[in-house]
């Protein structure tokens, strides 16, 4: 069995801060780590990676549908963050800056491919279907069950009525739990616009859910 490499990243204890779970404390710890990373302290940056990697994966996973793409983009995000961290002035939270990079990297990838990211299994060849299912493995390598895959397929179908921007907003809000203000900052739009678009996105999803329910009866 493969062994996880021992990390030399700093623990919170080494940072000399109490291990509190509050957002404010977390933000303060990030600020300190960023300052150290700006002085080329790699351990500090490694700690930042560990603290934020799951959220970056979750955000990218909400926009892209392929596990490999999510991993590649997540790596790209942290590389970009590392090489531009000296220019980051800490006016915004490090997390917001990082998620903004994540969203932009995902959209760039989708734009480069110039294809709709959404594909349904029914439209795929047998070979492509196998590749899709392989990409649907859980992070621990176990494949998803067929029920999980079917449920996710249904979610994808429902979400296909939304454009990429609205989809991203809805996932950030309803799945990832970001606040309207955070989404506005990440996507660089007005908070009221986020509210209106979320409201309309919910309407569209509901309409689809009800239509599907009606068709099943």
């Amino acid at each position: 069995m493969a062994r996880v490499p021992k990390t030399e990243a700093l623990t919170l204890r080494q940072l000399g801060k109490p291990q509190t779970g509050g957002t404010f404390a977390r933000g303060e710890e990030d600020r300190e780590l960023v300052k150290r990373a700006q002085k080329e302290d790699k351990q500090a940056f490694e700690t930042l990676v560990m603290r934020h990697q799951n959220r970056v994966f979750a955000v990218a996973g909400g926009i892209l549908r392929n596990r490999e793409d999510v991993e590649d983009i997540a790596q790209q995000v942290f590389l970009k963050a590392y090489f531009s961290i000296k220019r980051f002035d800490q006016r915004a939270a490090f997390s917001t800056w990082l998620y903004k990079i994540t969203v932009n990297e995902c959209w760039d990838l989708l734009r480069k491919r110039k294809v709709r990211p959404l594909v349904f299994e029914a439209e795929l060849s047998q070979e492509q279907t196998q590749a899709y299912q392989a990409s649907s493995e859980q992070s621990d390598g176990r494949p998803d069950t067929s029920e999980q895959l079917a449920a996710r397929q249904q979610v994808e179908e429902l979400m296909s009525c939304l454009d990429e921007r609205d989809r991203t907003m809805l996932v950030l809000k309803e799945v990832q739990g970001f606040s309207v203000e955070e989404i506005a900052e990440i996507m660089e739009i007005n908070a009221n616009t986020v509210k209106v678009r979320l409201f309309r996105a919910r309407q569209k999803i509901t309409e689809r859910v009800r239509r599907r329910r009606g068709a099943e009866r």
């Binding site: 979750a58 990832q176 859910v209």
Partner: protein, 94 residues
């Protein structure tokens, strides 16, 4: 119904804000009635009497339920090491 966003009613606006502030119940399917009970008392009461707000609450619940099955990606155990190795490689390259 869209018209809820344009309405000047302070109560309708407050209800939408209260809905946006509700915590995400990941992977859990909950009814509109459950979410109504989570709202502050004034907004919960308003949702009972205002058709547009009741519909907004139902849409909120439908959407959350529909998205409950959405997969949330997580980093694998090697990810941090992979990033740090990529940084080192890039630095050597430059």
């Amino acid at each position: 119904m869209g018209y809820l966003m344009n309405r000047e009613s302070g109560n309708c606006r407050k209800l939408l804000e209260a809905l946006d502030a509700l915590a995400t119940g990941r992977n859990i399917r909950l009814s509109a009635e459950h979410w109504r009970a989570e709202l502050p008392p004034d907004e919960a009461e308003h949702a009972m009497v205002c058709d547009a707000c009741r519909a907004a609450l139902e849409e909120f619940a439908e959407t959350r339920n529909a998205l409950a099955a959405m997969k949330v990606e997580e980093a694998g155990p090697w990810f941090t090491a992979r990033v740090m190795a990529a940084i080192a490689a890039k630095e050597r390259e430059d």
